[in-house]
Symmetry: D2
Subunit: 349 residues, 4 copies
């Protein structure tokens, strides 16, 4: 058994960050030596998150202000950044220069192209030189690059749920170039843990609504990866919805299949792609995934259906937006980087 790896979590006060702590506090090979938060500095982990009381180092480890030198001194080898968009990139460079591997959960390093970043994020990327070095780290898709990467950009929650069903089909030419139509639903944890009237219980409980129509920022990375796999432009519309769940994403994708493609061909390509992937569960034809079966886990469930009447392929996926769509995937990448079993610390159900 390899020695446990000293790690730090920066910015753990949001829902993905809390989920990350939950996983890392119990990960057999991770040694949580630092947790940073300017705001919570001085408090013990379990003071802020009473759920963790009595578990691992949660009672003894205290939040500190985020200082790279202190992390170096603590012997940190891997830093998980659960920071807001725009803040991660302030920490990534100094950490990397200090020889610390960075696993970033934010959107800061997901796009290869600085121009696309500017288009979707409304400002120039401040350190475009790092975009080249970062790996868009969908572990089922480019494990070799992740294994050796120093800057690991974990995919967004919606993109993960959309790319995993689509990428193999795109790569193998099963999808025609007609625009894709994608409708996703997410629990409220995806909107963050921040003071906000629209996210209050009483505002969300009886509410079903789309948002960010027609341009959600995740569109940028979805398009980037689909185009890389297909080797052509991939037009698509993406409409996310907020629904009254804590966690969970359910994505429904409408696509025109290439000529002659049927449900069996879709199933075969997916099975070939994910045969040895422990976290992708293929449910089969006309089987609808249910977010309740994946929430709290690192699994993604995928079903598919060929609608004979309209001639369209329907792909359906479910994942935990803060699990496989964020913290779980980050840990999966951590396992990959360190030669651990892919399921290490991730078989919670």
């Amino acid at each position: 058994m390899p020695d446990s790896i000293p790690i730090a979590v920066l910015g753990a006060s949001g829902y993905s960050g809390i989920e990350l702590l939950r996983l890392l506090l119990r990960h057999p090979q991770a040694n949580l030596v630092a947790v940073t938060s300017r705001q919570l500095a001085g408090r013990a982990l379990s003071d802020e998150f009473p759920r963790f009381r009595g578990v691992g180092v949660a009672d003894s480890l205290r939040f500190t202000a985020p200082e790279v030198s202190a992390l170096v001194q603590a012997g940190v080898k891997v830093a998980f950044l659960a920071l807001p968009h725009g803040v991660s990139l302030q920490f990534a460079a100094p950490l990397l220069e200090a020889g610390i591997r960075v696993i970033d959960l934010s959107a800061d390093f997901r796009l290869r192209c600085a121009k696309r970043y500017a288009e979707f994020y409304d400002h120039e990327h401040p350190c475009p030189q790092w975009l080249d070095k970062a790996v868009y780290a969908l572990p089922e898709w480019r494990p070799e690059q992740i294994r050796t990467a120093q800057l690991i950009a974990c995919p967004g929650c919606y993109p993960t749920s959309i790319l995993l069903p689509l990428l193999p089909l795109m790569r193998e030419g099963l999808i025609s170039p007609e625009p894709l139509c994608i409708s996703s639903m997410s629990g409220a944890s995806g909107a963050g843990r921040k003071e906000s009237v629209p996210l209050l219980f009483c505002e969300v409980q009886n509410s079903l609504r789309s948002y960010s129509v027609p341009v959600h920022r995740h569109l940028s990375e979805i398009t980037q990866e689909l185009e890389l796999a297909a080797g052509r432009p991939v037009p698509l519309s993406f409409v996310p919805h907020l629904v009254p769940c804590h966690s969970g994403i359910c994505s429904t994708i409408f696509a025109r299949p290439a000529a002659g493609v049927d449900a069996a061909a879709v199933g075969e390509v997916l099975q070939r792609a994910y045969r040895s992937q422990p976290f992708v569960r293929l449910l089969g034809e006309n089987r609808s995934p249910d977010s309740k079966n994946v929430v709290g886990s690192n699994f993604i469930d995928i079903g598919w259906s060929m609608d004979q009447r309209s001639g369209q392929l329907i792909l359906m996926s479910a994942e935990d937006n803060i699990g496989k769509g964020a913290a779980g995937q980050a840990v999966q990448n951590f396992n990959l980087c360190h030669g651990l079993a892919p399921t290490e610390g991730l078989l919670n159900i």
Copy 2:
């Protein structure tokens, strides 16, 4: 003020039926003289539904077994059928023959074509002669026919949310013949009030899932009405989802606009169509409707967006599945038939 109209509700134990009672108990022109349920015969309305205690006739009126002769004797002029699919048609004919107008909330008389009925409902329609006489009663769409109809078939919940945004655009040729992609989400009341493990609180609360993929029965009436309006075949895929709300439907429709159609043109056509319709609220371009603003009411809120990247039009609607999508619409049709103000008894908010 016209005299109040003696009415009956048959089969009021489901969620649409309860909503119907809620509306009719307080409707200024409706005089609820009979409520039938084989199972509940003998019980007072408010014994079964304690919410209604102390309101109108709820304490005094008792459920009776459903017998047409008794309804005739009670002077019933209008019978609302909140019965399960397949049961309504057993009562409709004798009621109509006894001169009682029928407002049916089931799917039994929604399709004009017996063949299509057999295709979607897995058996021959037992009284196809009535299909011709029934009116598919979307009150904003064919008020004149509804006004004089004896057999009023109220549209389904999903179809209402999909047809109202699409019909004017279809009629005026703004939509190209490419397949439509429709993703709808519904609260659990749409699945009915029946003993069922999958509908238990603990099964639904954290669950997001599609169902009936690729063929939901409502597809039949959606297609029928779109094709009538467009005057051509309308291919479409429809995926409904169950989400953890009591009530509410949110529909998101992806359509290819005809050449030269922009968001402004869409807005104009919708405004022209619904200018004088009190229950259709047009929110405008890039505005997402929210089911929480319509639940408990007879309103439907509609927004639209043109996605320049993919060249697709996105239509979005929200309604109460058991309100505008069922009981409210039935009462709206009742008002129409009897020359009452369209909003009579329906301006609950």
Copy 3:
């Protein structure tokens, strides 16, 4: 039919204020001529609350800054104050001096005794002279005083649910002087509509917890009214709980009955007290009220049970915390003041 009464609502951005608008927009005798909010000044009601779009004056009436002179000029006869604690009292005096009746939903004028106010609210009452003139306005309990009052202090949500079952029993000596034990549960709307992490959907959804133990401010008014009715000190412990509902309060009260008091005697006293009260529904012995039967309405449901094993009386009530516990009760007091039918505008179900 009397002329409609010009009214204003001050501070309508919280959940009780929204509920008040919902009731008053549809009240047949209320003419909503002004709605104030410093923050929302200039916006139409239905811009802020899209639910109200298309209803009454909601599209035309705009929020204004709260200025007494403008309200006088607009001819306002009654001002409903849905302002936070401590703010109401800044407006009450000038309104009253301008001859405008004040119906206050805050806690500012509920206590008769300035000393008790200081004890529970951590500062001296700034205008104790008004405490004498205010009426603690439980409409079932002191209708005569309410009818002629200029300053109407509406009871708090928890107190309403606790006082209505207890007061008649206290007055008639059915309860022994042992300490009462009261456990209440409230939906999250009771905690207000404010930017707050602990009230986020994701924080409340799976959470059951007591709060403000052992001293909640409502204890002060509960004790005041029970002691007035009993004519003796009434020791009690009160523990409120926050549960994942939008609205609704359920209170369970444990009391030692006086010697010889049985369930029948309890039932008789309650029936005598509430025989002619349209909003108090007595469910009977061993019958548990359910908040879902009262939410959205002005009803309070009450049950009772004698626990032979422990010799204790258990009283149980359910109401809508923002309905009967706030806005509904305010409208009920409005009806009382203006000689309207008690149920006017309040028979929503």
Copy 4:
């Protein structure tokens, strides 16, 4: 590391049973060799519970009909009974006679006294001779007896939440003999996974209500254990409430302290009792436990408060009703019986 222990779960289709499977599928020392269900015989675990797909033996292990001889043949050493009340006792005797240890989650063997059983369960106990041999297995309270017991009766969910805070205080005489008042709230999983209209999502979501007033069956075991600890009769009233959560229990207990007992004394006794207990987390004075911090875990959180005004002690606890209150406690007892670390397989958070 000891060899893993061959175990069986009988009747795993309810919420406690599913939770038990969740824990046992991942328990390092448990070897799940049989799962029985008459109804599900032949199906794989993960067919019925898709959440478990890909985890441990869930894809390969199939439900079988419950036959003791087959369990013997499979080498089962411990049988967990997650069967309904009244069914467990049919299996317990033959299993015990075959030398298999029984860990029963039902109420069948919790009472020492057959007469009390008959009083609360409406029929004579069919095998009263086993009541003597069973241990009421609260692991913090009688570990020595549990360690060697063959028939382990796991406490009920409500009793666990009530007994853990009260027992040490009762034993040490800190509570006066006045009647206790106990108000508990439970998520809907406590009501079971059965076809039932009152447990539908739409019935539970907006509902707060007490039930089984004044006599809930759990009263019998609560009283039994409190009286054993106190050495005197303990009168009490217990009112459970159903609230719209999946899981979680929150109990609030009002007690009259013995003369001279203050909050500090209460804290000291609790700390002494639970100092070395890994699953009891004492939050301190005036600190309210929150069910969201314990759901999914085996922890119970406890707070306390002395209400000076009324002279009453308020004890508050939170646990997961299907975790510490059922399946977690069963596994904790399993660990105890087999000399494993108490937290083995139970430190999920």
